[in-house]
Each structure stands twice: as structure tokens, then as C-alpha cells.
């Protein structure tokens, strides 16, 4: 039995991976909504910031962003940052940029008549956004949101370079101990696959529910 302990050791890295993904996607969603709302305002400086933010984040590798947060910024400011904080910061900011693009296009896709009706009724801007525009936008872009979530689960594997014991890092540790790469990496890959598949099934259920509600 003991000779299979390493499988459990690697698999339990899934919790680390999930921890990073769930927190980052949640924060990323909040950032994404804020950036998308900045993008649609008529206030030039906010729009410019939103456009620049998305452009820079999408135009540079996540690995560079993560390294900046973990190595470069602490070196300049003198503050030290934990692997966890650096990871969450980099991942949230990264997924926020990608999510904002989808949310922005979702908002743009909402029928202008919905906004005019809300205005004509006197519904305040933020209520209109929260209760009418964003729900309709999200219903439209649900598949792309799930896609971004799946990406986050997979991309979070680069946290292993900072020594965090996620799926990928644990596979590397086992590989180094046992002088074989095939089995540990297959186990890690299998875990990623299971997580992503479960996520897709849940997303499919939610999509079906939204579809039923809207149709």
C-alpha cells in the first residue's frame, strides 16, 4: 500500500490548485466587472486606464507578471510578499483582464432598448447595471467565462516555480525522488483533467438552467 502513497501526495495538490483558481477567478471576476464598467463610461481617463490595463496584461506572459510581483516589486519596495499573495495578485489581475474583455462585449451585446426603458422608468444607473444589464450580459457570455475559469485552473500550475506545492510541483518532487517522470506527470495531468471536466459539467448545468430561465 505504501508504495502508492505518492499518488495521494500528488492528488492532494489539487486542493492547492483549486484554492488558487477559485480565489483568483472570484477576484478576477470583480476586477473584470470593474474594468468593463470603466471601459463603457464616458470618462476618458477611466476608459484609457481600462484599455491600457487589458492591453498590457494580455500582451505579457503570466510568468513575467508573477515574477514581477514576487521578485521585482518586493526588491524595489523592500516589502516581502508571500508566494500565496503574489500568486493570487498575479492570477487575479491576469484573469481580470481576460474576463473584462468578455464582460465588456457581453454588456455591449445587451439590447440598447433595455437601457432606454430603464432610464425612462427612472431606474438608477447602478441598479440598472446590477439587475438588468449585467445579468443579461452574463447570460450571453457564460461559455467564455467558463473557458477563462478552465484556463485559470491550468495556468495556475506556474505557481510551482515559486515552490508552492500544487499539483505540478508535487509531481516534480515525486519525479525527482523516483527518477521517473511518466507516472507522476500522468497523475498530475489526470487530476487537472478531472477538475476541468467537473468544472465543465457544473458549467453545463448552470448554462442549461440559465437557458431554461431565459427561454
Amino acid at each position: 500500500m505504501e508504495q502508492y502513497d505518492w499518488i495521494w501526495f500528488i492528488s492532494s495538490g489539487a486542493f492547492i490548485t483549486l484554492k488558487y483558481s477559485i480565489i483568483s477567478v472570484t477576484l478576477g471576476m470583480i476586477i473584470g466587472i470593474i474594468i468593463a464598467l470603466m471601459r463603457i463610461t464616458h470618462i476618458t481617463i477611466l476608459r484609457a486606464f481600462a484599455i491600457a490595463y487589458v492591453s498590457v496584461i494580455r500582451g505579457t506572459p503570466l510568468l513575467v507578471q508573477l515574477s514581477l510581483f514576487y521578485f521585482a516589486i518586493p526588491a524595489i519596495t523592500g516589502y516581502s510578499i508571500s508566494v500565496f499573495a503574489a500568486g493570487i495578485l498575479a492570477f487575479s489581475i491576469n484573469s481580470g483582464a481576460y474576463l473584462s474583455v468578455h464582460i465588456y462585449s457581453g454588456i455591449n451585446g445587451v439590447d440598447q432598448g433595455q437601457v432606454e426603458a430603464a432610464k425612462a422608468l427612472g431606474i438608477p444607473y447602478w441598479s440598472m447595471m446590477r439587475d438588468i444589464v449585467l445579468p443579461q450580459a452574463f447570460a450571453r457570455i457564460l461559455p467564455s467565462l467558463v473557458n477563462e475559469m478552465v484556463n485559470m485552473v491550468k495556468e495556475s500550475s506556474i505557481i510551482a516555480i515559486l515552490g508552492e506545492a500544487d499539483l505540478m510541483r508535487r509531481a516534480q518532487i515525486v519525479a525527482a525522488e523516483q527518477y521517473t517522470y511518466m507516472a507522476p506527470l500522468l497523475v498530475a495531468g489526470g487530476c487537472y483533467y478531472v477538475i476541468v471536466t467537473i468544472l465543465s459539467i457544473i458549467a453545463g448545468k448552470i448554462e442549461a438552467k440559465v437557458y431554461v430561465k431565459n427561454n
Binding site: 432598448g113 433595455q114 432606454e116 432610464k119 425612462a120 422608468l121 427612472g122 431606474i123 438588468i132
Partner: protein, 227 residues
């Protein structure tokens, strides 16, 4: 009372409204007619602030709330019919949920829509949607309602029920501004006709006088073509 003074609106260098002056008294039922592109819808949209006037002034004296009914109904897609009527009352008037719901059910009954409370807008006919939109507006207790071509997007068999609903609004003493291409309805329901072409009021007369003896030559030829 609605008082419009020298209202001017320019879209892309084109003068859509050219110095409009109008006074609408409380309870009046006014049909705004004229050829497409004459500025009718823009006039309505300026009254409730959906479009901003480039020049001139719009003053509402004692009109505490202005409702609007759109050509495309614009019920909220993500809410069922009942919620469409309840939500604005809660969000804008601060009414309690129970009070809003009672009011909504009452208006649905008036608009002959009871039994459809749980239906999403997608599942309603055009006529049902438009009556729902009228009910939604009435729930807000408006003193004035603007109708922007309310029957233009409807199948012919749905037009009559919506016209009946508009007539109910007018009969309730609510100031009614109606942009329409339904001439016989305008003659039937409106007390006053405003003929708008190329951004100008070419004629402003009682319905009776307008349809029997239009003064403006442009109105005369328009009527000859549509009647």
C-alpha cells in the same frame, strides 16, 4: 403642464428638430403625426431626457412622472412579466414588495394579462408585450405617458388590443403624447394633432379640424397619401 420652448436637436449636422414651441395641458391627448424622419420620435425622446436638446428648453410643471412606451416594448428580458412590473416600483419609488406586487397584479388585470405573470417576455406575443409595457409604465403612477410608435412593430392582429389599451390610458385622464402612423386611431383618440415635418411643427390643431380641413399644404398632401 409641458412647455417646450425653441427646442432644437441636431444629429450629425442635420437639424432634426428646428425650434419647436409647444404647450401641452394636463390631461390632453395629443397625437404627433407626420412623415418618417420628421422628428416625431426625437421630440418624445427629448421630453423624457433620452435625447439631450441642443438648444431650447423643456419644462414640466406639475407633471410629477413621465412614462414612456417604446415601439420595441423593451420589457426586461431577464425578468418575468410580474417582475417587470414590480422591479421599477421597488427600485424607483421605494415601494414595498407586497405593495408593488399588488399594484402590478391590478395593472395586469386592467391590461387583460392575468395568468401570464410568470411568463418571460420571450414567450409573450407582441401585443401582450406592449400591453405589459403599458402596465409597467402605469404602475409608476405617471401623470404623462409618451407613446413612441407603440403599434409599429406589431402583427396586424395585435394592433387593436394595444390601441384599446392606449385608449384606456387616455381615458384615465393621463396626459398622452402619441407618435403614431395609425391615422384613424389618432383621429379617434386624440383631441389635438401636431403635424411635424423636417423638424418643424407645420400644423397644430384640433383633431376634427386637422382631418377635415388641414391648413398646411404639406399636411394636406400627407393626409391624401395615407388616408
Amino acid at each position: 403642464m409641458l412647455k417646450i420652448t425653441n427646442l432644437t436637436k441636431i444629429f450629425n449636422g442635420q437639424m432634426v428638430l428646428n425650434g419647436i414651441n409647444l404647450t401641452i395641458k394636463p390631461g390632453e391627448v395629443v397625437a404627433i403625426i407626420g412623415p418618417s424622419g420628421g422628428g416625431k420620435s426625437t421630440l418624445l425622446r427629448c421630453v423624457n431626457g433620452l435625447d439631450k436638446a441642443d438648444e431650447g428648453e423643456i419644462s414640466l410643471f406639475g407633471e410629477h412622472r413621465v412614462g414612456m412606451v417604446f415601439q420595441q416594448f423593451n420589457l426586461f428580458h431577464n425578468m418575468n412579466l410580474l417582475r417587470n412590473l414590480v422591479y421599477p416600483q421597488v427600485a424607483v419609488l421605494g415601494r414595498s414588495l407586497q405593495e408593488s406586487e399588488a399594484r402590478a397584479r391590478e395593472m395586469l388585470k386592467v391590461m387583460n394579462l392575468h395568468g401570464l405573470e410568470d411568463k418571460m417576455p420571450k414567450h409573450l406575443s407582441g401585443g401582450q408585450k406592449q400591453r405589459g409595457a403599458i402596465a409597467r409604465t402605469l404602475c409608476m403612477d405617471p401623470s404623462m405617458v409618451l407613446f413612441d410608435e407603440p403599434t409599429s412593430a406589431l402583427d396586424p392582429e395585435n394592433v387593436r388590443e394595444v390601441l384599446a389599451a392606449i385608449k384606456q390610458v387616455a381615458a384615465a385622464g393621463i396626459t398622452t403624447l402619441l407618435v403614431t402612423h395609425e391615422m384613424s386611431f389618432a383621429r379617434d383618440v386624440a383631441s389635438r394633432i401636431i403635424f411635424l415635418d423636417q423638424g418643424c411643427v407645420l400644423e397644430d390643431a384640433s383633431a376634427k379640424q386637422f382631418f377635415s380641413k388641414p391648413k398646411a399644404a404639406r399636411a394636406k398632401s400627407f393626409l391624401e397619401n395615407v388616408l
